[in-house]
């Protein structure tokens, strides 16, 4: 029984692979993600991880949920490796003293894709970049003096993040994606307490993809 199942699975796999390679009528069809550019933008919720990592500055970040606009562009050098750039813009400010006022950044990195010639594209990657961060005015106290409503300055800090996700290519130029990034970094203002920028950012939505390989009209045209 096991052998029969294996044979059937192998045959099915062989048929599906050979079907992928056959050209369709009209323009050349390429059933590969290589040389593909994809663009996507979405609204991304994020959860601060400061409380979970015993960070003493959690009084500022408070473990609150934040919301970002997240834009990505990614180029597939081949079916395994892609290069990507990401932009994050904090959408909802926290008006409380010491709450997050600005937290925008960019990151660039590489992704490794596990499957070749599949509509399902799971991947892992790592990105590095810079963040522009500022918190709302707050009271500063060193035990002797207290500054009321002090405007804590903004600061640019390096960040990095491991990322993992899955893309689903089921249509000609659109794809669905879901991914999570674990942001790492520390906000270090010249005056005021440091704050951990650790948070999990979850992004999902529809993206747009097109091939930069000339004879191909779209990457997944025949699907």
């Amino acid at each position: 029984m096991k052998k029969i199942s294996l044979v059937i699975a192998t045959l099915l796999l062989a048929f599906s692979l050979s079907a992928q390679d056959q050209p369709a009528d009209g323009p050349v069809v390429k059933s590969s993600l290589a040389q593909m550019l994809r663009l996507q933008a979405t609204i991304t919720p994020a959860w601060s991880m400061s409380l979970l990592t015993n960070d003493t500055t959690a009084t500022i970040s408070s473990g609150k949920t934040r919301v970002y606009i997240h834009g990505t562009s990614e180029y597939y050098w081949n079916e395994r490796v892609s290069m990507r750039g990401d932009l994050y813009f904090l959408l909802v400010k926290d008006g409380a003293p010491g709450g997050m006022k600005h937290n925008h950044g960019f990151q660039v990195g590489l992704s490794y894709h596990f499957l070749k010639g599949s509509n399902i594209d799971p991947f892992i990657g790592v990105r590095g970049g810079l963040n522009y961060t500022q918190v709302q005015a707050m009271n500063l106290n060193d035990g002797v003096l207290t500054l009321l409503n002090y405007n804590v300055p903004a600061h640019i800090d390096p960040t990095w993040a491991p990322v993992a996700g899955i893309n689903f290519y089921g249509q000609r130029v659109f794809h669905f994606f879901i991914e999570a990034a674990y942001m790492n970094g520390t906000y270090r203002p010249s005056v005021g307490p440091q704050m951990s920028l650790e948070e999990i950012r979850l992004s999902a939505g529809l993206g747009w993809n097109f091939s930069l390989y000339k004879p191909v009209e779209s990457v997944r045209q025949k699907i």
């Binding site: 290069m83 060193d142 002797v144 390096p158 520390t186 203002p189 010249s190 307490p193 440091q194």
Partner: protein
């Protein structure tokens, strides 16, 4: 000649042990590079790559682990000799949350691929290398309390050396990981943790006039894309090892 021998003798008897080791490693590397160079030719010369990097700074005197971001370009001179020109922006903690240190690095490193472990950029093969270079840097340390005069900065120069490895994923791109030790040669910065009358810690600085050696380990992970071959076809007969007459025909 006698003077040269005296100079060499002086170098090997009077310099500290670590300098001797550096000189020995450099001499061996150069010899290996030169011998392998004659065998392999210099075909990849002129390759130009652009890249980005994240850097982690460890074991600094008074600051904690630092994280950084930067960019670089690489210009390859010969098959076994590459160069890396980088800029880094690194921030780290000082005094367990009461101060910050910011380092700006701009510098270059020469990368030697040892002939005995050279894989000609084959995809999927780890390519080890030695690197050594020089760097200019600006360091700024500040306390994050609201007192005045709670910061200090310095310009300095540095030398660095270490080991690295490329992992070429693709014909044009590679991921590289390197670990190097960087010695800063300049005025020292020594912030002190003091306490105010309420027992709250803060950073205090005193003017330092003496110069000293201060170092830290830098671990960099970079992604590089080869975008050009700057002297391809310009030196025919040399680049591809064909006789000049044959190329002219």
């Amino acid at each position: 000649m006698i003077a040269d021998n005296r100079t060499l003798l002086y170098l090997f008897t009077q310099t500290p042990l670590f300098m001797k080791r550096i000189l020995t490693v450099a001499a061996i590397t150069l010899a290996l590079t030169a011998s392998a160079q004659s065998r392999l030719g210099n075909r990849p010369g002129g390759q130009f790559s652009l890249g980005v990097r994240t850097t982690t700074s460890l074991f600094s005197n008074e600051s904690g682990i630092g994280t950084g971001f930067g960019g670089q370009f690489r210009l390859r001179f010969f098959e076994l000799l590459n160069s890396e020109w980088f800029a880094d922006y690194i921030t780290s903690d000082v005094g367990n949350g009461i101060g910050n240190r910011t380092d700006y690095h701009i510098g270059w490193s020469v990368m030697f691929y040892p002939g005995f472990a050279y894989y000609q950029g084959q995809k999927g093969k780890l390519q080890p290398y030695f690197l050594a270079g020089h760097c200019f840097d600006y360091t700024y340390v500040e306390g994050n309390d609201f007192r005045e005069n709670n910061s200090m900065s310095r310009w300095s120069s540095a030398i660095q050396g270490g080991l690295g490895v490329h992992y070429p994923f693709h014909d044009r791109i590679d991921v590289s990981l390197s670990a190097q030790y960087m010695y800063h040669l300049g005025t020292e910065i020594h912030p002190e943790v003091r306490y105010n009358s309420a027992g709250t810690p803060f950073l205090a600085f005193e003017e330092e006039t003496k110069t000293g050696l201060e170092g830290h380990v830098l671990i960099s992970c970079s992604m590089n894309v080869r975008i050009a071959d700057l002297w391809k076809n310009k030196i025919k007969g040399v680049q591809d090892k064909k006789p000049v007459e044959e190329v002219q025909q």
